[in-house]
Each structure stands twice: as structure tokens, then as C-alpha cells.
Symmetry: C2
Subunit: 218 residues, 2 copies
């Protein structure tokens, strides 16, 4: 038997998670396979499974790492309302940069990442003066909105990987515009706005609607 080369530096879970994150960012969820991981890390299956329980565990660890970086970020002292918008935008941007995080948050909501999000948003809503009983509902609604946007974003990103994003959105908009205005009056009219809307601005607009609704609970 030929002597097998062997890595000298020890393979830590952090290194594996970092490599997994790279693969996910480059090619989406489909690109994260153990085969690709072994290639990138120049190792074998054994080394990876020694540090990681399974694929779910790996995805969860990568997600926790990304979200943790966002949530622990200090927000300069501002009004609770401004802080909430900042945190929400931070989440949006993180998910925009790592779209697979969005899908993962929905898939396994009991893992630490979503816990951190709940804590952060719940705390800011408390500071905003939302009364106790309504707090739970308000936080749930806000988090669900963020998760919904996150999921949509992940879907958009999955497209962009294949084709040009702008072109695809234009194609959808064209398709919407061509719909029968009698049967689909709203979507027909919305087509124009779909074509040149800004995801980030629309996300913030949603946050503002929500905050306005929260204000009525006070």
C-alpha cells in the first residue's frame, strides 16, 4: 500500500464550519455536500464526521455563526424604534449575503440562532413600551415577518445563481403584466412596481407598517 498523506494541522469544527459557509455562499445549499467538503479541506469523511454529527448539525452550526455575528453587534444608543430598524436591517443584510440562512431558520426554529433573534427583538420591543401581554404576540409577528422575507430572499438567491437576477425579475414582471387584468387586477397593476422595486426598502416599509401597528397596542 502506498503511504497516505495526512494533514498536520488539527481539523477543528470552526474550520469545517467556515469551509461549509464558503461552499454555501458560493453555490447555495445544493453545493454543500460532504464530498465537496472533503475536497476543499483535503481530507476524508471520517475527519468531518468526527467533528460534526450530520449535515443538519453542520447547517445549524453555520447558521448560528452567521446570526450570532449580527445579533451581538452593538447598536449605538438610539431610540428603541431606530434600534429595531437597525437590527432588522442587519438581519436582512446578513440573510441577503448568506441566503441559505433564511431557509435554515425556518427549517429548524428551535436552534440557538432564532432564540437570539427573539431575545433581541423582544428586548427592543420591551424598551419600546409594548405592554406585557401583547409583547409575545408582537415579537412573534415581527419575527415571522422577518422569516418570511428571509425565505423569499433565499428563493430569489437560488434563482440568481442560475440566471441573471435582474433579467429573471423582469421576466416575472412581464409575465404578471401579461395576465388578464380582469382576473388579476392587483397583480397586473403591481407588475410595474415589481420590476424596479428595492428589496431592502420594501423590507423596511414592512417593518414600519408593523411598528405602526405595534404603536396602537400601547
Amino acid at each position: 500500500m502506498a503511504p497516505r498523506p495526512r494533514r498536520t494541522d488539527e481539523l477543528s469544527k470552526d474550520v469545517i464550519v467556515a469551509a461549509a459557509t464558503e461552499l454555501l455562499d458560493e453555490g447555495g445549499e445544493a453545493a454543500l455536500t460532504f464530498r465537496a467538503l472533503t475536497t476543499r479541506l483535503s481530507t476524508g469523511y471520517g475527519a468531518i464526521y468526527h467533528r460534526v454529527a450530520n449535515k443538519s448539525d453542520l447547517l445549524a452550526a453555520a447558521t448560528d455563526a452567521v446570526i450570532g455575528r449580527v445579533v451581538t453587534g452593538a447598536v449605538p444608543d438610539a431610540s428603541p424604534r431606530e434600534a429595531l430598524r437597525t437590527v432588522a436591517l442587519g438581519l436582512f443584510d446578513a440573510i441577503d449575503e448568506h441566503p441559505w440562512v433564511g431557509a435554515q431558520l425556518s427549517r429548524e426554529p428551535w436552534r440557538p440562532a432564532l432564540l437570539e433573534i427573539y431575545e433581541r427583538i423582544g428586548g427592543l420591543l420591551t424598551a419600546l413600551g409594548v405592554p406585557g401581554p401583547a409583547l409575545f404576540d408582537a415579537a412573534g409577528a415581527l419575527v415571522n415577518y422577518v422569516l418570511g422575507v428571509a425565505g423569499q430572499n433565499a428563493a430569489n438567491a437560488r434563482l440568481s445563481a442560475e440566471a441573471d437576477r435582474e433579467a429573471f425579475l423582469g421576466a416575472i414582471a412581464g409575465q404578471w403584466a401579461r395576465l388578464d387584468p380582469e382576473r388579476y387586477p392587483f397583480v397586473h397593476r403591481a407588475a410595474a412596481q415589481l420590476r424596479d422595486h428595492d428589496d431592502r426598502e420594501q423590507f423596511l416599509a414592512g417593518i414600519d407598517i408593523f411598528l405602526a401597528g405595534i404603536a396602537t397596542l400601547r
Copy 2:
């Protein structure tokens, strides 16, 4: 060669979609495999692939069927506000009954199902008197909230398949309650409410928050 038995009735796409829906409802997304489908329909791969392009196509068709049934349901003439709540609850219940729909809506938002949802919600918001420019943002926010809840629901259902749902929710609540109150004040307090909250009611509470926020746009 032995003569091969052969089905006499023609295999239509509707029949395939119905069988797929049954499999999905019984065992979640993992249960929908072409092998299981061939067994249930007493047929082979060829017959199925003849009617269906691939697995995505099958999932999308099943989703469109479920959502179509909800969205086309007539709402007795009520105030736009009541109609919106009814439609939203209808969506919630449908996704509660078929949790895989929630995941699918996020995965491929450009397929007809979400289009129908947008149209319905957009139309009702128009009737509610939301002014034109804000309509697009409002509809987007509301749909995203529904999608977020749908995703969470799908995740919950994935658990319930494995273990008892009540017990699992209790376990999570216990875990939250045991968190350090200094570091996680909000989640720590929310644990009690998590244990005995009603998903359907909390969903409606979120809808009401959004509607209150939307009212400020008028």
C-alpha cells in the same frame, strides 16, 4: 419474458398529484419519493415522468391545488377587514393541514400558488382603502408575514411527525425557562406563554397588528 400486467385506466396528472398529496400529508416531504409513488399507484417510473417533469414540478402542482382550493373559496360579503381575516385564517388552516405547502411557497414563490395569494390579498387591501403607492408594500408585508408563519408551522409539523408535539413544545419551553434570566430576559419570560399559546390565535393577533399598521397608511 413473462407478460407484464398493465393498468387499464389512464393515469392522469390529477391522480398523480392526489397520490403525492396523500404521501406528503402522511409522512411529510421526505415521504414523497418516486418509489413510493410507483408503489401507491401500482405503476412504474415511466408513467409518472410522462405526466410530470420532475419532483419540483410535482410539488408545485400539489401546492397549486391546495392553495387554489383555499383562495377561490367564496367569502360571504363582509367588511374588507373581516374578509381579510377570513382569507388569512383559511391560508393558515390549509397550511396547518398540509404543512409541506408552507415550505414550498417559500421555495418557489414565482409559481401560480403565490400569485393567487397576492391577488387575493392585494384585492382585499384595495377594498380596505389602502392608497395606491402603499398598496404594494402593504401586500408584500402581509404576504411575507403569512409565509413566515407558514414556514414555522411546517417546521413544527416536521417535529410532530417524530414525537408528540405537546411534549416537544413543553421541552422547548422548559429549556427557555432554564435560560439565564440576565442574559435572556425576554425569552425567559416568554417561556410560560410559549407553553400554552394557541398558534391560530397568535397568527390572528399578528394579522391584527398588521391591519392596525396598515390603517395608519390611509
